[in-house]
């Protein structure tokens, strides 16, 4: 691997394509749940990269579309179970928002399996592992999304979106 390479080069360097999935996790339940999987030394695919937010209610639809437009093959949003939210009912807003986001994404021609919303508690390391494993398998089966190219083919999108991995 060349010294200058950053992660995204790996997909071509190693010759095997594996999906890039962005995971937005709330700090109090799901992020801690992901930690629990680690503490228990569970093994799961390396494809979901976690971005920590304080509450899943912080996940602005724009963050999800940005991830897709920048080359993510899938997006996962995890929050506390209903009734367990550290912020009383922040996750109720997530619950209300996610089906709408799903509709928008599907309307853009993105397959439903590329977007997933799950409740993962701080104790559910096992569940987090299963979600990541299952989602990685499904997105792998779908293949690369390549949304920027998709948009370009349809005559929309910008230059920088077209080449998210560099010139």
């Amino acid at each position: 691997m060349p010294e200058h390479a950053t992660s995204q080069v790996s997909r071509t360097e190693t010759g095997v394509w594996t999906p890039r999935i962005v995971g937005f996790l709330c700090y109090w339940c799901s992020y801690t749940g992901a930690d629990a999987a680690g503490t228990a030394r569970m093994k799961y695919p390396a494809n979901v990269d976690i971005i920590r937010v304080m509450c899943s209610g912080r996940v602005d639809p724009e963050l999800i579309t940005t991830a897709f437009s920048r080359g993510a093959d899938g997006v996962l949003v995890c929050g506390c179970h209903i009734g367990d939210c550290h912020y009383i009912n922040g996750n109720h807003k997530t619950m209300a928002r996610m089906p709408l986001i799903r509709k928008v994404i599907e309307g853009m021609g993105i397959e439903p399996d590329r977007f997933r919303h799950e409740w993962v508690s701080a104790a559910e390391g096992e569940k987090f592992k299963e979600v990541v494993t299952d989602m990685t398998a499904k997105v792998t089966a779908l293949g690369p999304l390549n949304w920027p190219q998709l948009m370009y083919d349809r005559g929309v999108g910008h230059g920088h979106d077209l080449k998210p991995w560099g010139e």
């Binding site: 950053t6 990269d49 991830a67 550290h86 912020y87 991995w165 560099g166």
Partner: protein
């Protein structure tokens, strides 16, 4: 969000360029055995604004921290990324270290490459690349960070206790004994609450009045406690440290008087209600011989209306039946729901012990009395309670057990030997149907949350599915409500006996006293902020905030965040249709830049 929301975007506005220091921890071999930390450091070291990227065997160790402080100073680093274990473990350690090096503690980003990388990814190459991606993302995010300060909220040195039952009295006294001024607000005209209705209480068998009266006297004679009786909560404003509650006090023959009470903390001790069986439930209100456990307490009380005689229809009672779980442990489909459609599916926790206690006392006071106990289960779990169960058995109480789906029936005695019979299929004798003639049926009626809608509206209390108020965490923060400065004292939180209620009240007083005597509350700075120029005053955020921490400035027609009340969930920032709200520490710019760097932005790869 800025269109150029990548790491480079942060250099705009003429501000000096970020100088990022990246510290990668081996964690012994925990990380370094799987992740090639040298390769990570060399790759990350070439990213924009990264002036130094180094690795260390144990970054959290004292020498590790000292070294970090030196690197920060030598390289004039102004923001720090630590890639190590989970931030839940050591974020605070490293924030302190960078503070010591002279940086703002919030110019810091913690990347979890242990719990979320080296411990879960088997393939070394994949783990190394994942670590690089996550740290690149952090570079994107940290380039946009701004120095933040912890919020310090002053706490007014007084408490308000709502409810003058045993829990409220105990909490008020405990607070006063710590030198804190207390306003005790009681709805009725007297202090003492439900204990005023009781005779002897388990497990010590003391007279309730001997326990509650000294407590009332102590409260009334304590110069730090101001008691308000005949009150109604009218309005509340303010937040933790500075609550202002308006109460109205009823006065005989005069108009109600309004008083405003200022307090740093509020303890809620409004108690609960006893379940009132519906008409006909086990013959309740259908037969005069069917009463509740508290009615029996009144009868047995020598100072009560019957002078301690236990009689029905003018005749001494010779045969008594107790029925457990009335209004508790209900089954949907089997039991009639309450007005809100819910059933009481929980255990009321006092009734089994209360029944054993009453049975023993009846046996002691009325030799020859026959006692039959009808139950699904018996749960005498408290200290000294199982002994009462044993004593009841030894004194000849007869126990019959039924299936909850085939509950006991209370009927008129077809043979006319007694006023009533209790019919059960007794599981202890393989389902044998038994008719037991009795003179009196005592229902072990359970406990349920009272209507607290106005209280909940005033203070934004969270509530469990069982309608009782809900603590933040049952084990770790058992007496705090989610909104800061509100504490739960006693059975407002769920069914409790007196022992448990006073214990919880004492815990609540102690938590409130800790807050008040400290004098201030320190809170994370990750709160929401409204950009006045962008806000259209649409009020979407007002409806979405879980804490009621946003109000509308009617003059400017914009939303304003109440800083002390905001807990920093960021839900409003996500919902704002005009992008006018951002969350400190989690701004759109920061997160979007994080996403872009995570997915490999142009600038990153071309920088060699």
């Amino acid at each position: 969000m800025s269109d150029d929301g990548n790491a480079k975007g942060a250099a705009g506005n003429g501000a000096h360029e970020p100088r990022i220091g990246v510290f990668i921890c081996h964690c012994g071999g925990n990380i370094a055995d799987v992740v090639d930390v040298q390769r990570v450091a060399s790759t990350i070291g070439k990213l924009p604004y990264v002036v130094d990227a180094s690795t260390r065997t144990f970054l959290c160790s004292d020498p590790g921290q000292v070294r970090m402080e030196k690197v920060i100073q030598d390289h004039k680093i102004d923001r720090v990324i630590v890639a190590a274990c989970s931030p839940t473990l050591h974020a605070l350690t490293f924030r302190r270290a960078i503070s010591r090096a002279g940086l703002n503690p919030f110019m810091f980003e913690h990347v979890n490459i242990r719990e979320q990388v080296s411990w879960v990814v088997e393939d070394k190459e994949a783990a190394t690349l994942k670590a690089i991606r996550l740290i690149s993302a952090a570079v994107g995010r940290i380039a946009h960070l701004e120095p933040l300060e912890k919020r310090r909220i002053p706490i007014h040195p007084a408490a308000m206790v709502i409810g003058g039952g045993v829990a409220g009295l105990k909490a008020a006294l405990d607070l006063a004994q710590r030198g804190i001024d207390v306003a005790l607000v009681e709805k009725s005209d007297k202090l003492g609450g439900r204990m005023l209705e009781l005779d002897r209480v388990f497990p010590t068998n003391e007279r309730a009045k001997d326990l509650i009266q000294p407590l009332i006297n102590e409260v009334e004679n304590n110069s730090r406690i101001t008691v308000y009786r005949n009150t109604e909560l009218v309005d509340s404003s303010g937040v933790v440290g500075d609550f202002n509650t308006k109460i109205s006090i009823r006065q005989p023959g005069a108009e109600a008087r309004e008083v405003e009470i200022k307090s740093g903390a509020i303890l809620i001790a409004v108690g609960l209600d006893v379940y009132e069986p519906h008409d006909g439930e086990y013959g309740y209100k259908q037969y005069p011989e069917v009463i509740g456990l508290l009615d029996l307490q009144k009868m047995m009380n020598p100072d009560g209306p019957t002078g301690g005689k236990v009689e029905v229809n003018g005749k001494p009672v010779k045969r008594v039946a107790f029925i457990h779980c009335v209004g508790s442990r209900q089954w949907s489909g089997l039991h009639k729901p309450q007005a809100d459609g819910k059933i009481n599916d929980y255990c009321s926790r006092y009734c089994c012990s209360g029944i054993m206690h009453a049975a023993v006392e009846l046996k002691d006071r009325f030799p020859g009395i026959e006692i039959y106990d009808f139950h699904e289960d018996i749960r005498t779990y408290g200290r000294g309670h199982e002994e009462m169960y044993t004593e009841a058995s030894e004194k000849g109480v007869v126990f019959l057990r039924y299936d909850p789906h085939k509950p006991a029936q209370v009927l008129t005695d077809p043979q006319g030997k007694a006023p009533l019979i209790v019919r059960v299929a007794d599981r202890l004798t393989e389902g044998l149907e038994v008719d037991t003639p009795v003179d009196l049926v005592v229902l072990g009626n359970g406990l349920q949350a009272r209507d607290m809608s106005s209280l909940i509206d005033l203070y934004r209390c969270s509530r469990g599915a069982d309608r009782f108020l809900l603590e933040v965490h049952p084990k770790l923060r058992p007496v705090e409500l989610a909104a800061f400065g509100l504490f739960l004292a006693g059975s407002v939180q769920g069914p409790m006996d007196i022992t448990e209620a006073t214990g919880m009240a004492a815990a609540s007083a102690s938590k409130a006293a800790a807050l008040i005597t400290q004098g201030f509350l320190e809170m994370d700075p990750f709160i929401a902020k409204v950009n006045e120029d962008l806000c259209t005053g649409c009020q979407t955020c007002l409806t979405i905030c879980p804490y009621d921490a946003i109000y509308r400035d009617e003059e400017k027609e914009i939303a304003v965040v109440k800083e002390a009340q905001c807990t920093g969930c960021g839900t409003c920032a996500a919902a704002c249709p005009s992008n006018a709200i951002s969350q400190f520490g989690f701004t759109d710019d920061q997160i979007i830049s994080e996403v872009k760097m995570l997915l490999g932005d142009i600038q990153v790869t071309t920088k060699v």
